[in-house]
């Protein structure tokens, strides 16, 4: 081939590449930013559960000084806030996702019946007030919840939001042909009625205490999706799941390009008034280091899920770090299955010895740079923890004494304690997350110092969290100690992790009581709290639960695991909630 032909071939390739570029999308128009209409004042929230230990309030970044006005007129520019998300949404239909990164958008374009503020207190959104026994919204027997909807709420296309939308959401959730993420708690509803378009009466089969933390977390528009369901027989393939052009939040969905970005623009029909920002632009950046580079370079205004080790660097670059408690606490669970796992862990003294032998304060100080606290219970930073509980101190001598008392001594001189011919060697597993691997290594050394040998095991998340039926290492009781961070149905304290009827087995392969623990006292306390609709009564029951689990060392807390948010200084009025993170996004603003 001649040189000319070679050149031609190369040019052809270049042309093909250029031709394969997609046509340019229309850039966001420069919006003449007019003063937002006066927001309708939301009704005062009814009395929210008072936190006994109030979570540390998140601090909004100080507004930076606006630029000095110039004499030459500056063309109005759209206020676009760029959020850097490390994971892309899987779907935008609130019925179909459990994904945190998807759910955080619901305060942007969808709506909950009520949100939670930065103190995790409920704030009415679609309703006039939070139901309670005092205002008649919750019946005396705790079975009936009555919602009074606001008169001015509308979908972004102007259609009024009515009780029928709630009923449609309920029906679609429990419809067997819809493979929704969870049917909880709608599968506990006996009856749902709309006496008028602005009143919704929900009747549960039994008193249902966790309603405030679980009900109406996103609704779907009946006038858009009912015809789709009627035609397809399912919402699984609805176009709206990926392009929800009609919503009820302060912003409206505009565009989502797979793997790249998503755009939400201001909803001019929003009943609280037009939001101050013109657009929220999500950019999906899966790499942590790239996320930090983008925020430091000013290409991102907001990011989350930073490693503690990156916080000083971000703060040095002028990024404000916010902390939001969302119920997550990192901790170690013990294998308490009656026939599986190491026999030593069935002894309370051995578990107590492990608690005294692990210096968790040092782990928090050295590995997490002292940026969070030591966790004592599964429910830390909620109002449900017995105030008398303090984390076990580091006391290796006491740990040794407890092990001696339990009969675990080193009889064969191999530096590992044993009893009845069984060596005290424990399998300690967790995911491959770096901070967890570091924690494992420290705890391994600390337990070795008191004569407990620990074998470390690490798994990818989707393997580690596999169910019993799928052979998950924790679910099948292969591990003696397993570590991760989870949360109850935050901000509700309910959890099924220690219920006797949740122990995985061949008959119940999806059970999630991976500790295999069936303690009748504890089980009864959980059965009690589930039906206690009165906050104070339930709180007292949880005091007993937290104290009992703490004393028995069924769970050994390591550190508080709040969500870390990084906010660029040009983003204003930012508050973050642990339960509904972007709850006041309609008030956010940008310096120009």
């Amino acid at each position: 081939m001649s040189a000319k032909k070679w050149c031609f071939t190369l040019m052809l390739l270049v042309t093909l590449v250029v031709a394969s570029c997609k046509p340019a999308t229309t850039p966001p128009p420069a919006v003449q930013h007019t003063t937002a209409p006066e927001a309708t004042k939301p009704p005062e929230p009814t009395k929210a559960p008072e936190a006994t230990t109030a979570p540390e309030p998140t601090k909004a970044p100080e507004p930076t000084k606006p630029p000095e006005p110039t004499t030459t007129p500056v063309p109005a520019q759209a206020k676009i806030a760029t959020f850097i998300w490390t994971q892309e949404f899987d779907t935008l239909n609130p019925l179909y996702t459990n994904m945190w990164f998807s759910a955080t958008t619901f305060q942007i374009w969808n709506c909950y019946a009520w949100d939670f503020d930065d103190q995790n207190n409920p704030v009415p959104v679609l309703i006039k007030e939070i139901p309670s026994m005092d205002n008649g919204g919750v019946s005396a027997d705790g079975k009936v919840i009555t919602l009074k909807l606001r008169d001015d709420i509308v979908w972004s296309d102007g259609t009024p939001i009515t009780a029928e939308d709630f009923i449609f959401t309920y029906k679609m959730t429990i419809e067997p042909k819809n493979a929704v993420a969870t049917t909880h708690p709608y599968d506990k509803i006996a009856k749902i009625e709309a006496p008028d378009p602005k009143t919704l009466v929900t009747t549960f089969t039994d008193p249902f205490a966790p309603w405030l933390g679980t009900l109406w977390k996103g609704i779907v528009p009946a006038h858009i999706l009912q015809p789709v369901f009627d035609k397809d027989g399912t919402l699984d393939n609805a176009e709206w799941n990926r392009t929800p052009t009609v919503g009820c939040g302060p912003f409206v969905f505009k565009e989502w390009e797979s793997g790249s970005f998503a755009r939400f623009v201001a909803n001019t029909n929003y009943w609280r008034g037009r939001p101050k920002l013109d657009e929220i632009f999500f950019r999906f950046v899966p790499d942590d280091a790239s996320q930090i580079a983008a925020i430091k370079s000013g290409e991102g205004d907001l990011g989350t899920f930073f490693a503690y080790s990156d916080v000083p660097d971000l703060e040095k670059a002028g990024v404000t770090m916010l902390k939001a408690y969302s119920g997550y606490n990192e901790g170690i669970y013990f294998n308490m299955h009656p026939t599986k796992g190491h026999p030593a862990l069935k002894d309370q003294n051995v578990r107590l010895a492990i608690a005294y032998a692990t210096d968790r304060a040092s782990i928090v100080k050295d590995l997490l740079l002292g940026l969070t606290g030591v966790a004592a219970t599964y429910w830390d930073n909620t109002p449900y923890v017995d105030p008398s509980i303090k984390p076990y101190p580091y006391d290796p001598q006491k740990a040794k004494d407890l092990l001696d008392e339990a009969g675990w001594i080193d009889s064969n001189g191999d530096d590992v304690r044993d009893k009845d011919g069984v060596e005290l060697v424990l399998k300690y597993g967790t995911t491959t997350r770096e901070i967890r691997k570091d924690t494992q290594a420290v705890i391994q050394q600390q337990l070795a110092a008191v004569g407990i040998k620990v074998e470390l095991l690490n798994y990818d998340s989707d393997t580690y969290f596999n169910s019993y039926g799928a052979g998950g290492p924790a679910a099948t009781f292969q591990l003696d100690m397993y570590e991760y961070s989870t949360s109850p149905n935050f901000p509700d304290p309910d959890t099924g992790e220690w219920l006797c009827n949740n122990i995985p087995s061949d008959e119940l392969p999806s059970g999630n009581n991976w500790a295999g623990l069936c303690d009748p006292t504890l089980d009864q306390l959980f059965q009690d709290e589930m039906v206690q609709v009165d906050f104070n009564t339930r709180q007292q029951t949880f005091y007993k639960i937290t104290k009992y689990i703490f004393d028995q060392v069924y769970f050994l807390g390591i550190w508080h695991d709040p969500d870390l948010w990084g906010v660029n200084e040009r983003l204003l009025n930012v508050k973050v909630s642990g339960a509904t993170p972007l709850y006041n996004i309609w008030e956010w603003d940008l310096t120009q």
Binding site: C21, I80, N98, S258, D462
Partner: protein, 344 residues
Amino acid sequence: MTRYIIRRLIQAIPLLFIISAVLFVLMQNMGDPIATLGGRMVTRPADRQRLARQLGLDKPIYVQYLYWLIGNDWAKTDLDGDGIPETQGTRHGVLRGDFGTSLVNRGVPVVQVIADRLPNTLILMLTAEVVIIVGSLLVGVYSALRQYSLVDNFVTAVSFIGYSMPIFFIALMTMYIFSVNFKKWGLPYLPTVGMFDPNVGETFPQVVWHMILPVFSISFISYAAYSRYIRSTMLEVLSQDYIRTAKAKGLPKREITFIHALKNASLPIVTIVGLELPLLLGGAVVTERIFAWPGMGRLFLDHLERSDTPVVMGILMLIAVAVIVFQIITDVVYAWLDPRIRYH
């Protein structure tokens, strides 16, 4: 030649079956797609049971493979959990062109999931491949013609530095230098991530501007191997008798180099490019992740992490088919470049 191509295509059919079966079995051991559903909490037991039933994950592996292959529109499924199959299946199967729907992006057809990303990968990878081939041709030929010169030694050193560096290091280093620090120092700077600036829109100049760092990272580590290969094959060809004859006949140096030497030195290069091209469809996993480029590499990784069997199988089968097709194309190009080669 036509009979040869047809024979190769027929031979590919059982091969693709075996590949698909092996990959499907391997995917079943990659994790449980409904363990957390991408959330931060473990899925509730009741929801796990229901979703496994609705998504057909409770079936034995051979039944799942059969449904993937030939569909389930001939069978009924129990969706409501009463033990009685009552709902007609809707999947047509791969053999009828239906690759199913994504488990992650619930309800979105696999073909659409892949089609959304494939152009982005082609833009990035073909540009990088062109840069690599052009750059390595220039460097390789120059080095061969001026063996052991100062320039030859310099480009050899640079190419080995590139070859020995992990791509994530080059990518992050260039990002911090040319984006973060250049901006801090008040210099013109390159963007860190994505394909365009939201304030400007997805325009052609924006895409090119955002492509500079990823293309540089991919090219820098790859051009070393290509250029060294071209240099060595060129050196070998340049020492052949027919080149000496051409020189003795007084042909211009450019003609000798580019027509007689380079064409003959191209044969082994065609083999490498032929093997490389189908793999371009898989994207550059690390580069796409670091620069947040929405391509196939990221798609594969994201969906593999969540055990999204339909999408992962779709990507892998696409690459498997591409490898087979490009192998046949390579053979054809071989015959075109070297008339001595004949296929029967």
